[in-house]
Symmetry: C2
Subunit: 181 residues, 2 copies
Amino acid sequence: MSGVLSDLTIRIGDVERVLPTVRTGNLGRVPLVEFIGDPEFTNAAAQAMLPLLPAGTEILLTVVTNALPLTHELSDRSGLPYVCARKKRRTYMQQPLIQDVPSLSLGVAETLWLDGPHAARLRGKRVAIVQDVVASGGTAQALAKFVVQAGGTVSGYLAAFRQGQPPMDVAVLQDLPRRVP
Amino acid sequence: MSGVLSDLTIRIGDVERVLPTVRTGNLGRVPLVEFIGDPEFTNAAAQAMLPLLPAGTEILLTVVTNALPLTHELSDRSGLPYVCARKKRRTYMQQPLIQDVPSLSLGVAETLWLDGPHAARLRGKRVAIVQDVVASGGTAQALAKFVVQAGGTVSGYLAAFRQGQPPMDVAVLQDLPRRVP
């Protein structure tokens, strides 16, 4: 029991958090990483991710929601601009790009939307994919497809945490257990 | 025409933006405020909002998505913690509070969710309601109901911009036109 708990203790710089575990659908208990509502943890993670930024990166691409304050901070601290995909179509979007993320657990795709004016900011740029937590890598792949669709190139993948074995190389701060007994 | 355009020029500190206008449903063209993807604008707004924080505020409450990086920054710069309501139920939520926001244009309610552990952070606290843009005030009222439900008190309302006439006093940086001819 204490072994499991220590897996869920995160220390980034001077900031320590013991992640809560939550029951989700048929997956059992999983650790929950929340940057929303925790600026101290968010800022520590953004600072620690700075040296992990892929060489040559010119702009960051992420997706709402939990990664948003993290990417805002990483953008602010690195001086690199960022673009954020959405999980809902907005009425104001102009010629948005669309990518589906297959869901392993339900077999239902989630759709990501990238507004046209934001996609245009990726054109000809070297783009780092930024996430809060990377697991199967499906979201990372969808974001990479946005980059190609928009006429950019992927400089690399970056996440605060990894849960599982995504198929691409991702620079992370720490691995987390995928499930908790 | 030039008069209309100047209404859409925002200057906050050293940062200037000319807001794009977008066609939305049956409302015609409206100015679009986007903090997501614009850390410079976000940080300038957060800095300018600091003196508008209601006296005695102990914690901030906002709602996803556009206000999230703004509130993260406002929290970071003020030293006040923040809590963020969601627009979708998450499987991991524990005894979430629920409030509906009536939509003026469609007559359909949008539902806001506040996870139980986050609601608990508002208990006994003086809470400022923070938004990116306040219009009808419906979202602000729903957030205020969360505060009461959670056992806190509302210290006041704060938004970067106001479009229209909400029924409560809201401290804002600037008024924006609600529609553009």
